[in-house]
Symmetry: C2
Subunit: 460 residues, 2 copies
């Protein structure tokens, strides 16, 4: 407890943070094994908040929490959980509670829930579904991972394109199984190909005799069922879509994607980019030490190879360094500045590729700009560091060498910072994943080589 | 042209990328000064795509494009443009075209458009608006920057809470000035305080006599008008909101925020985080060299100070290095591995703070995990590098020193990687902005000090 109090003091509380007032009654209920108190404490919480809380507590507390919550456990909580924790929670749930929990979910939520589970857990959940839902889920799972087909819901509202507003309203009134969330009525031709859509707001404000065709939105776009979900999220954000019909290869309507799902994907893709740029693969805060070590080790191994390469360069100049130890003192500055400048350029390039802003129209201009920026920044720091180097070690030529190496390395950093991600992207490798290692290898090797090589020529 | 062709070969084309077939007719029209051809080429494009194209071409082409497009220029294009380019385009637009363009925008789009403009351009646009719109925009501008008040639209549909479905539908039919996009009817009490909302889908499928009160959604949440837009975006993503009423300090309804705006904010905030983590402040691909230099220089300057600090540490061990040059060869490895491990930890921590997943409930457990991960990874690489160091320079004790320094630095990296962002967050400094510099300072200084210090004790 004393430990938690201190944590409370360190962590800044803010809006929507699970604060002590929320968490304390839950933890008390778990400690006392009081099922009713736990249910009461969870009652005002959104499933997403309950899921966050389950992620934040330790393993034992989590299992006890799930067991005490019992019958009340809601399928939406499972949807909101991180993968690792999700598997644990499913294992801790009583099979009947699990079956009950998933039965209320929409088909796209079930797909999202089970696509990353082990086969055994997947079957457990599929068996719990009604036959029609099960078929829908299995069909969605037949589409490629991370495709629009996995993301879409099959529940939707479509109408023949020749209907009028009154016809549509009567039709909707007659059906009580409308989707939980829908924002458009999709117009389809006789072969079920979407030809437009009308917002509910327009339908409601139009006269009953208005043809639906007269109310269609300009923003209408269909999404191919095999499209990558990252592109789907891009389309929603770029074109301000609220929902979009998904079509198969014959352009026939097979589902609908709504903006909330697209927003969740946008969020995940960003998260992935940030973590990949930092050399952290997948991973969440609730992963255990072993999982975290396993996720980060490969990146550190790549960095080790990079670092050894740089060391091999330094090794070539051992006699130079032995003759002039100041070089050993100053050489990390050149490499470090190059690494930072390279990271700046590559991050801008990786983002621009992700947002489709770096294209053949502006590639050369961007490269020229990065090189120019590298040169200008290099020159500015060359003057500063040249002076420092010259004064610190009372050797003017050392300052000149440092300055020249700085300019060379920052220009190379700008060039590599754009070219490496662009080439990786062309090779269909995620530039966020691999650019960092390549670019810092370049700036380390060039930095040490330029600095020590120039020193060997000029100073000895 | 030859240059562009090569760019075409380097850049991977994909979905939603502005490809040559789209761009070529536009550039041809500009080159030939053919206004009609340009209008025809732009006709099938979404304003967001026209904006992207304006960002990607060079300055001269952009100005000519804007002038040739003339009267057809749409206000939505302005909304979609990056800030820097936006100012240029506004300056290039004929005042009458500009006035016409902004008049069709919703109030929240006008606010978004002008809030970052210079006073002169801001007034130009405000003057173009109808008086009622101008008042609405000025009122929104009176709320703090990056608050819900700036983000919300004032166009909304509200109804007294005692109405039934038929009453609402008749009311909507009678009004032809309904907002362009709306998804809920907000129920308000007599003092205009929102008490719930009903989706349009539910209204349409319910009988006319159903009380609205019976149809309200569980997901209902209000947003305080002063709430930070980052928190607004978080709430939409966390609670799967589609729209949310915005309330003033007396809980009275003042506007509505819709998910598409929240999605755009989420995207911007992520972009900002990624760029800040990489030491790139604001900035876009269309910035000029001078602007880019200015944005990146401060970060490189901070890094320079960091690097000099590390050099000062090395300087303390000049005689040790002079006696044993292998130390100079190997020392960057220790610093580099520490820097990478620290960046991994800090990125995870910065993200977890942004997503509100790092709280007082799990801070200590996360710190313990990061330290443990640092130790395990450190130990693994210690063995590998210890062997390399010992064999490379035929000095077993050098291997031992390298291994020990590696473990120390990776443990410290894990600790600093969590604590630095958490403390910065507590101090209300964006951890994405400053963590990197602090953490790499720590890992550089500790890395060099541990390695060279141990070497001084053990090897000499």
């Amino acid at each position: 407890m004393a430990e938690d109090q201190t944590a409370e003091e360190i962590i800044a509380e803010g809006d929507y943070v699970l604060d002590r007032d929320t968490v304390a009654p839950v933890l008390n209920a778990v400690r006392e094994g009081d099922s009713d108190a736990l249910i009461a404490a969870f009652d005002p919480l959104h499933p997403a908040d309950i899921a966050d809380l389950l992620e934040q507590v330790d393993d034992d507390t989590r299992v006890r929490m799930v067991q005490l919550y019992g019958q009340e456990f809601d399928g939406d909580i499972l949807s909101e959980l991180d993968e690792g924790v999700r598997e644990e929670v499913i294992a801790a749930l009583h099979p009947e509670v699990l079956a009950e929990a998933v039965r209320d979910l929409e088909s796209d939520d079930v797909v999202d829930l089970i696509e990353d589970l082990e086969d055994e857990q997947q079957n457990l959940i599929l068996d719990a579904l009604a036959v029609s839902d099960r078929v829908a889920v299995e069909q969605s799972l037949s589409y490629p991972e991370e495709s629009a087909g996995r993301l879409m819901q099959r529940e939707m509202v479509a109408a023949p394109e020749h209907w009028d507003v009154g016809h549509v309203i009567d039709h909707m009134r007659a059906h009580d199984d409308l989707p939980g969330q829908f924002y458009h009525v999709i117009l389809v031709d006789p072969r079920m190909r979407p030809t437009g859509y009308v917002t509910l707001g327009r339908i409601m404000s139009a006269a009953r005799t208005t043809p639906m065709r007269d109310l269609v939105e300009d923003s209408f776009r269909t999404i191919p069922v095999t499209q990558d979900e990252e592109d789907v999220a891009y389309a929603f954000n770029q074109y301000h879509l609220i929902s979009a019909p998904v079509v198969d290869e014959d352009d026939r309507l097979v589902g609908v994607i709504t903006i909330d799902d697209a927003m969740a994907i946008l969020d995940e893709e960003h998260e992935e980019d940030i973590l990949r740029l930092a050399g952290v693969g997948e991973g969440s805060l609730s992963d255990r030490v072993v999982e975290t070590v396993r996720a980060r080790l490969p990146w550190l191994a790549v960095n080790l190879v990079t670092a050894i390469l740089a060391s091999l360069v330094i090794d070539q100049f051992e006699t130079v360094i032995a003759g002039f130890v100041a070089l050993a003192v100053l050489m990390p500055i050149v490499a470090s500045m190059g690494g930072n400048a390279g990271t700046q350029s590559l991050t801008v390039a990786v983002r621009a590729l992700a947002t489709k802003d770096l294209t053949s129209s502006n590639l050369w201009r961007v490269i020229r700009r990065e090189v120019a920026v590298g040169f200008v920044n290099g020159a500015i720091f060359a003057i500063a560091m040249g002076a420092v180097g010259a004064l610190w070690f009372s050797t003017p030529m050392l300052g000149v060498v440092l300055a020249a190496a700085m300019i060379i390395n920052l220009v190379i950093a700008g060039l590599a910072g754009v070219l490496v991600p662009v080439v990786l992207d062309k090779l269909k490798i995620d530039p966020a994943l691999a650019s960092g290692a390549f670019v810092t290898t370049v700036t380390d090797v060039v930095g040490f080589f330029a600095f020590l090589g120039l020193a060997a020529v000029v100073l000895l």
